[in-house]
């Protein structure tokens, strides 16, 4: 049973981790755009 939970947790950790990476990428770009418009 613990295998099952481990598997599901891993799936979501990886997916949410990727979303976090994307979010950070967006934020960094936003800062760069602000810098350009200065």
């Amino acid at each position: 049973m613990s295998y099952l939970y481990a598997a599901y947790v891993i799936v979501w950790v990886v997916l949410i981790g990727y979303i976090v990476i994307l979010a950070r990428g967006f934020k960094k770009l936003q800062e760069e755009v602000k810098e350009l418009e200065k």
Partner: protein
């Protein structure tokens, strides 16, 4: 565009939640494998998404080398990254399913080895993009993708012919015949949910990449204007 995206994201989220419910509770427990079999509802859809992403990247790479269009390159890197994400999930959940059910973490059969090789190839694709001098080099990356995909075909064939003496547990070919309709139901919901989620992620990454390309262009223009 943004509202279309928001609606799509909501639908995806709804599907994923429904899928999770079906996978954990809605579907009946499998007779021989027990509750661990439920990993199947996540493992197979993720493999499916990965098998959509990598060929998409292959086609986008070829198209890029022909047309040299930045949009194609953005699409290529998006499908590659999302493909690696889902491939990672497949490679992690597969052994977790395999150990309690078949007693082994891993075997070098055609399917597993090809998946591992694809993962290695696309990780090296991403590393190549990151480590190229002067920013990601789309031409080099596209060439690598072409080599990599042709190679994946060879890997599959090689193992089929040269390693057949090893036992062949069949991962990813779900529960046996006489499949319970409720299981099929749960399976299809999750397939739809993960396909939608895959599209969503590629969409997001694509927008990110296009924005990054435009920002870079703007930087270059600014530098150019400053020299006048």
């Amino acid at each position: 565009m943004k509202s279309k995206f928001a609606i799509f994201a909501l639908i995806t989220f709804a599907l994923l939640t429904w899928g999770l419910y079906e996978a954990m509770i809605g579907a009946p427990t499998e007779a021989t494998m027990g509750p661990v079999q439920r990993i199947f509802y996540y493992h197979v859809p993720c493999a499916w998404v990965m098998l959509l992403c990598f060929p998409a990247n292959f086609l986008a790479s070829i198209a890029y080398l022909v047309k040299r269009n930045a949009i194609l390159d953005a699409f290529a890197v998006s499908t590659a990254e999302v493909g690696v994400v889902f491939c990672t999930i497949v490679l992690l959940t597969g052994p977790i399913w395999g150990k309690p059910v078949w007693g082994i973490w891993w075997t070098w059969d055609a399917r597993l080895t090809s998946t591992l090789v694809l993962w290695l190839i696309y990780v090296s694709y991403l590393i190549l993009r990151k480590f190229s001098i002067g920013g990601p080099n789309p031409v080099l990356a596209a060439s690598l993708a072409i080599f990599g995909c042709i190679d994946a075909v060879f890997v599959f064939g090689a193992i089929r012919w040269f390693r057949t003496q090893h036992p062949q547990p069949v991962f990813g070919s779900g529960p046996n015949s006489g499949i319970d309709p409720r299981m099929l139901h749960a399976f299809f919901i999750n397939m739809a949910a993960f396909t939608a989620f895959g599209i969503l992620l590629v969409w997001l990454r694509f927008v990110l990449e296009r924005t990054r390309q435009k920002v870079e262009e703007a930087h270059a223009m600014k530098a150019l204007r400053a020299t006048r």
